[in-house]
């Protein structure tokens, strides 16, 4: 290989790694702000992060816990990312996932053999998510209603609908604060005994691969990304806006619906929803953060989801061992997202360091 092609390969590698560097830097910034807050309040930040790491990644069991948290986040992050790639800002995963969870529970009202029942519950879940994504999609496509407003309104409407359905239609005859439990024939078996990790994680990973194939290996995926990158280009290429909006929202709805479905079908010990929805609440919004840290790419999303899931399962250990309220990780997550809004975070640091180093040569543009 000539020197030039080595250099080209190097540049391409650097370009591919830049998002990773951006995310790492943002994560460090978030953790630093978290440490500052802990320090200001008199906590031992080092002990807190140490406990967090132990709780999240120190062994197979802990890692399994983090993975089980990552699983729904992969789905909800894909919901956001698919739409973001098309230039649409769908923050409705939260409501869509409630619908998916309820639909999957409703599938337990039927009797079917094992296997088949599980597939049916997944389909129900996907349909539930799509149902809740469809109205905002149509409002966007045909009425021009901004999707941020419509999806948020649908989250609230969905939350109250879920309060009603879980407390009245699907309520357990024995425990009033629970829905009926998902039938054993449609539950995901556990992947590791004594943990909450079930085979549902493979559905999440498989769906991430599927999304990658659709977005990067099909014509419609190419059109979606082209229109998202430059709306005018999309229009000139003859891609009908409404078709694209419906496509990405339906795909996103499937993903969010599956997030809810797999949570109730694969999360021990409940296999049900509580009437306050506490076991699925927040996954939709966390998915937005995961998608951004993962730069809206399926592979990045998987890595970011494990990071986020780890923060969540480590936070409990942190509260136990270092006494820091676990909500601090949400503060950290917020700072990470705000930092990621800066497109040139890496460059800001590089400029600062460029004053000293000849190690980093800046290229034009």
């Amino acid at each position: 290989m000539s020197g030039l092609s080595w250099r080209m390969a190097g540049l391409r590698l650097a370009a591919a790694l830049r998002p990773l560097g951006n995310s790492l830097l943002a994560a460090l910034l978030g953790l630093a702000v978290g440490a500052l807050i802990m320090f200001a309040l008199g906590y031992d930040a080092w002990a807190a992060y140490h406990a967090l790491f132990i709780g999240a990644f120190s062994g197979m069991r802990q890692f399994a816990g983090s993975l089980s948290n990552a699983s729904p986040l992969i789905f909800t992050a894909l919901t956001f990312a698919i739409c973001f790639r098309a230039g649409k800002f769908n923050i409705g995963a939260e409501g869509q996932l409630f619908m998916g969870a309820m639909a999957a529970i409703a599938a337990s009202l039927f009797y079917l053999p094992a296997g088949l029942h599980l597939v049916m519950a997944l389909l129900f879940g996907a349909a539930g998510g799509v149902m809740w994504a469809l109205v905002p999609a149509m409002l966007r496509a045909f009425r021009g209603v901004h999707e941020v407003i419509s999806t948020i309104m649908f989250n609230w409407i969905g939350t109250f609908l879920a309060y009603y359905v879980t407390a009245n239609l699907l309520v357990s005859p024995v425990r009033g604060e629970m829905t009926i439990r998902v039938a054993e024939t449609s539950r995901f078996p556990l992947l590791m005994r004594g943990t909450e990790l079930s085979y549902a994680i493979f559905v999440a990973l498989g769906f991430a691969v599927l999304v990658w194939l659709i977005l990067w290996r099909t014509v419609i995926g190419y059109e979606v990304r082209a229109a998202g990158a430059n709306p005018n280009a999309g229009r000139y290429a003859g891609v009908a806006e409404w078709k694209m909006v419906l496509t990405v929202f339906v795909l996103g709805g499937v993903s969010a619906g599956l997030a809810g479905a797999t949570e109730v079908m694969g999360r021990p010990p409940l296999y049900a929803l509580d009437t306050g929805l506490s076991i699925v609440r927040g996954f939709g919004f966390d998915g937005i953060g995961v998608a951004m840290i993962g730069h809206n790419h399926p592979l990045g999303i998987i890595l970011a989801a494990v990071f986020y899931g780890g923060l969540q399962s480590g936070a409990r250990m942190m509260q136990m061992m270092a006494g820091v309220p676990f909500q601090i990780v949400r503060v950290v997550q917020g700072v990470i997202i705000i930092a990621l809004a800066l497109p040139e975070l890496v460059r800001v640091f590089r400029v600062l360091r460029g004053r000293f180093g000849f190690l980093f040569h800046r290229r034009a543009g």
Binding site: M153, F160, V329, R330, A339
Partner: protein, 297 residues
């Protein structure tokens, strides 16, 4: 009749945070910045307002709320003017940060999910023949007029609209695009801060994790409804405040309370917001530069 006055009082209180926030956002959006972090700003200032009110009285609480709004607005503005950041992502980040920070703060204060503002630290209500009202309710009736005056009758207002409509031309004309945008969005956000502090220090007398309950987004919808005309913000605020109040009211009216499930009643403000926005959207016109970072070529 008494029930009707109660409905009116609830409606006027319910419209206050929405009108204030929306009026502020009209200033911000006129300058070209689209802030979906309003929900988080309201939540944060409801919290800081409650804490400051308990420590130093209701006026300190309102000031703390406005200060919080201004500070977060300034951060949002810095990232999205000089930093050329992504406004949507910043807004989402602010909302997530607020959720975490307030949950964390409430935990630190030892309360399980809520923090009460003591009676003495709440803003005293004004008694009128038609019920008692928070003074901020009247402030919220005046603010849209002030915003209207600012945007349409002053040189500064002209500058704000210029940087929103055509930042290149404004830049050539010698207007400092970034600075005008930064200050517009920060002032706008401080009104959202006042709205948040109003909720905890005056209206509800306590702060919970979900005190903002989508009101920041309803305010955004109101801005869309208004097409950036402050007087229509007043009207839109009334509309959404009314349905918010109707939902609360229906849960206290004796007979209706028993036949209507509260869950469906609670959906009302959100459903109506969507219907109104879907109904009027075609007529609204927004600045060309809205949502796009300005880069000098």
């Amino acid at each position: 009749m008494e029930l009707f006055f109660r409905l009116l009082a609830i409606a006027l209180h319910a419209k206050t945070p929405i009108t204030l926030t929306a009026a502020g956002e009209v200033i911000g959006e006129s300058s070209g910045l689209f802030n979906i972090g309003l929900e988080g700003i309201m939540l944060l200032s409801a919290f800081t307002g409650a804490v400051a009110a308990n420590a130093a009285g209701p006026l300190a609480g309102l000031a703390a709320g406005m200060g919080t709004g201004f500070t977060v607005g300034l951060l949002f503005g810095l990232i999205n003017t000089y930093g050329k950041g992504d406004q949507m992502i910043t807004g989402v980040g602010i909302n997530l940060f607020a959720l975490g920070f307030v949950a964390f703060g409430l935990h630190m204060l030892g309360a399980p999910g809520f923090h009460t503002v003591s009676r003495a630290s709440q803003l005293p209500a004004v008694r009128t023949p038609i019920g008692s009202y928070s003074p901020i309710v009247f402030v919220a009736l005046v603010v849209p007029f002030l915003v209207h005056f600012l945007l349409n009758r002053t040189r500064l207002g002209l500058k704000i609209k210029a940087v929103g409509e055509n930042p290149e031309a404004a830049d050539v004309a010698g207007i400092r695009v970034e600075l005008v945008r930064l200050l517009s969005t920060a002032v706008g956000a401080s009104l959202a801060g006042l709205a948040g502090a109003f909720m905890s220090v005056s209206w509800m007398g306590s702060v919970t994790r979900d005190i903002s309950a989508g009101r920041g987004f309803i305010a955004l919808a109101t801005v869309v409804f208004s097409g950036l005309r402050p007087m229509l913000v007043l009207l839109g605020g009334f509309l959404f405040g009314f349905f918010d109040a109707l939902a609360t009211w229906l849960t206290i009216v004796p007979v209706l309370r028993d036949i209507l499930p509260w869950q469906f009643v609670s959906m009302l403000p959100y459903i109506m917001t969507l219907l109104v926005v879907a109904g009027v959207i075609g007529r609204s016109r927004f600045p060309k530069g809205l949502g796009v970072p300005y880069r000098r070529e």
